[in-house]
């Protein structure tokens, strides 16, 4: 069994890309169920951690900016570490990730 980092990113900035309150409620439920599904398979490698949505970004000129949106609109929505045999299995698990519902993506990295 290996450990994989799953990083969820999507555009949290563009107004048209944002879910309605009703969509958001269903969306949150989907997150809970997705986490629950991974946990039910005993494939959650670390406890879940919530992250502040705003954050700071440090540019190459050492200027600190509020909010993680610099040149790109996409930012990190969250990350988890799961247990999986290989990239194939990790990808299969990631396919259920609700970030995909609103045009987001999941970056997957295996722990070495």
């Amino acid at each position: 069994m290996n450990e994989f980092l799953l990083i969820f990113r999507r555009d949290f900035k563009t107004r048209e890309q944002q879910p309605s309150p009703d969509q958001m409620q269903a969306h949150l439920k989907n997150w809970q169920n997705w986490f629950g599904s991974i946990a039910a398979q005993d494939k959650l490698a670390r406890p879940l951690q919530r992250w502040d949505g705003e954050g700071r970004v440090l540019t190459h000129s050492k200027t600190a900016l509020n909010g993680p949106y610099v040149e790109i609109k996409e930012s990190i929505g969250g990350l988890i570490i799961i247990k999986a045999m290989d990239y194939e299995e990790a990808l299969e698990i990631a396919k259920g990730c609700p970030i995909l519902e609103f045009g987001g993506n999941v970056e997957i990295r295996m722990a070495l």
């Binding site: 946990a39 398979q41 959650l44």
Partner: protein, 416 residues
């Protein structure tokens, strides 16, 4: 209550109080002396009361006799001079050297100290439960053996070994400090829950004994709620959980001692009073920011006190199981989560999720798959139940699986 009933009743109620007070007084090295003195006290009671009748206040009589026996023991035994006196002088104030304090407060303090001593991770779970039943609940070796479905020798050895371990680890029988309580509360609650589960899920046919185990677990938990220093949210959560479960005690077995499944239970046999108590303690548990597995399990148990299948009920249960699994994995929670998912989402989706669990050595896994397939593909359902039957080892589980197999075979015959 006549004498036939009074003695065993008093024995349970007073045995553990007196043992706790004496152990608290003597320390871990002399638990056996405390037990002997209490046993002798009950022997005297049986003898004297059969001649002179039962005294007006039997408890007070027992305390006086136990106190006197302790004093005599201490005076008589040279051990007092060498060993105990040293410890007593060291542990307690000189003025109460010989006085055994049987006040309500000291009984409470002693019991709390004993709970924290017995529920110590230095000894195995099985031993903790056995020792708790023996020392904290006044159960005889035979009764414990019956509850564990084993023989007296096994339990006897287990208890002796547990006491040795406590002595080796030099565990002191003392009030846990405020700082210690936070660290040590979890193993204590785990033992209490184990004790409860032993009674609730035991396959022992002795219903009275099983019920007694549940009542004792609730009583020990209640002691922690009564005590200000241990009256924490998670303690209330566990108490709520046990109240909710215990409310279905009468409904979950039939006259033959067979398990009645939740769906088939007679709701009128559910104990409303215990359900209300559960709700009270669940509210108490909501104080502060602590969210433990006991909170989540109590929440699940709360929703199970509503028999009617509503979307709200199952969505809440699913959500609580999600949180529970994220907090701590267990195969039981994984299977139950999938069952809840089948109630809120499509069966097909629940089957997909169930198959991901891959618990191929667990008969409950195949029972779940059998249940989920029953409405969709009866032949597949039958295969799953047959696999479950091969893996099941208790008579009650086998009986439930067989019932399903029979029903499916009948249906398949009718369809063909």
């Amino acid at each position: 209550m006549d004498e036939q009933e009074l003695l065993p009743h008093l024995f349970r109620a007073e045995y553990q109080k007196m043992v706790s007070v004496l152990c608290y007084h003597f320390g871990i090295w002399h638990i056996e002396i405390a037990e002997d003195i209490v046993s002798e006290t009950f022997l005297s009671a049986t003898e004297t009361w059969s001649l002179k009748g039962i005294p007006e206040n039997p408890s007070a009589w027992l305390y006086t006799v136990a106190k006197n026996k302790t004093k005599n023991y201490l005076k008589r035994n040279s051990l007092f001079e060498q060993k105990i006196s040293e410890e007593i002088r060291y542990n307690t104030l000189p003025s109460i050297e010989l006085e055994i304090d049987m006040s309500h407060k000291n009984i409470m303090d002693s019991q709390l100290a004993m709970i924290f001593t017995v529920c110590n991770p230095a000894i195995s779970n099985d031993s903790q439960v056995a020792l708790a039943l023996n020392l904290l609940c006044g159960f005889g070796i035979q009764e414990i053996a019956d509850a564990f479905l084993t023989n007296k020798e096994v339990i006897y050895k287990r208890i002796i070994r547990a006491k040795e371990k406590l002595k080796e680890a030099k565990i002191k029988i003392e009030q846990p400090t405020k700082a210690e309580i936070n660290n040590r509360l979890e193993p204590v609650l785990t033992t209490i829950y184990l004790l409860f589960s032993e009674g609730y899920y035991s396959t022992s046919q002795n219903t009275t004994l099983r019920k007694d185990l549940c009542i004792e677990a609730i009583r020990l938990n209640y002691l922690l709620v009564e005590n200000e220093s241990t009256n924490k949210p998670q303690v209330n959560a566990l108490l709520a959980l046990m109240c909710f479960h215990a409310s279905r005690f009468e409904a979950r077995t039939n006259q033959n001692g067979e398990i009645v499944l939740y769906e088939d239970q007679n709701e009128r046999l559910w104990d409303r009073e215990l359900m209300a108590k559960g709700e009270y303690f669940l509210n108490e548990a909501a104080n502060g920011n602590t969210l433990t597995k006991f909170h989540l399990e109590a929440g699940i148990a709360y929703w199970h006190t509503h028999k009617e299948d509503t979307t709200e009920k199952w969505e809440n249960i699913l959500d609580l199981y999600n949180h529970l699994l994220i907090l701590e994995y267990s195969s039981v929670a994984a299977l139950n989560r999938t069952f809840a998912l089948a109630k809120t989402n499509r069966k097909q989706q629940a089957i997909q999720e169930a198959e991901k669990l891959n618990l191929t050595d667990n008969h409950f896994y195949y029972t779940l798959l059998g249940n989920l397939y029953t409405d969709l593909d009866k032949k597949k359902a039958l295969t799953h139940f047959e696999t479950a039957l091969k893996l099941a080892y208790t008579a009650s589980d086998k009986a439930i699986i067989l019932k399903n197999i029979r029903r499916l075979k009948q249906d398949l015959f009718l369809i063909d």
